[in-house]
Amino acid sequence: MRILYFAHFREKVNIAEEDIGIPDGVIDVKTLIDWLINRNIGFANAFSDLEHVRVAVNQEHVELNMPLKMDDEVAFFPPMTGG
């Protein structure tokens, strides 16, 4: 799957996008976050407060219990501030 990071998420994890296979144990957005947090301190910091994590799967807003598939595009970003 493809993972995109925006705004302060991109700065904290230090990558804008990456392609990964679905890791063992990852079934939905929440378990993907759990897996990402274990990578390094940058990821742990980015996801330290789940209240401020917004997620899109295939460019639609979703909740943390959204199931994930191999060909999904997952994006992580803070609450939006457009307009």
């Binding site: 460019q59 970003f77 803070p78 609450p79 939006m80 501030t81 457009g82 307009g83």
Partner: protein, 150 residues
Amino acid sequence: MTVRVQKQNFDAGYEIRRLSDGGANIGGVCSFIGLVRDSNTDGFIKAMTLEHYPGMTEKQLGEIDVEANRRWQLDDSLIIHRYGRLIPGDQIVLVITASAHRKDAFESCEFLVDWLKTKAPFWKNEETGKGKKWVQAKKSDDIAAGRWQK
């Protein structure tokens, strides 16, 4: 119904004329322009950079435009949202709605502005004398958008 996400500036007068010329049934046109302000609670703002999620931005703006057309009788509508680095006084966003009746034009215009703030994936980064900082989302924006929930 048109949605444009662009770096360049826009001419609201031209866009309003273009929409108004669309049909003799249009009785009223309502517009909103969002601008970059020169100060926040931390002080003076030198510039603001708007980042967005290409693809999802257009998709989300398109969806709220469809929703506005479902809720109100609109003859036409336009959303232009800019991204990139802007300075105080620059235009950020333009929303125009055209309808046979003013109530539909007013309400749908306000709805579009409220909803794009909480649905469209844009993030503002402000440059002040103290450096760069991501703008925090405001609770009042969620409350404003929540008014239209149904």
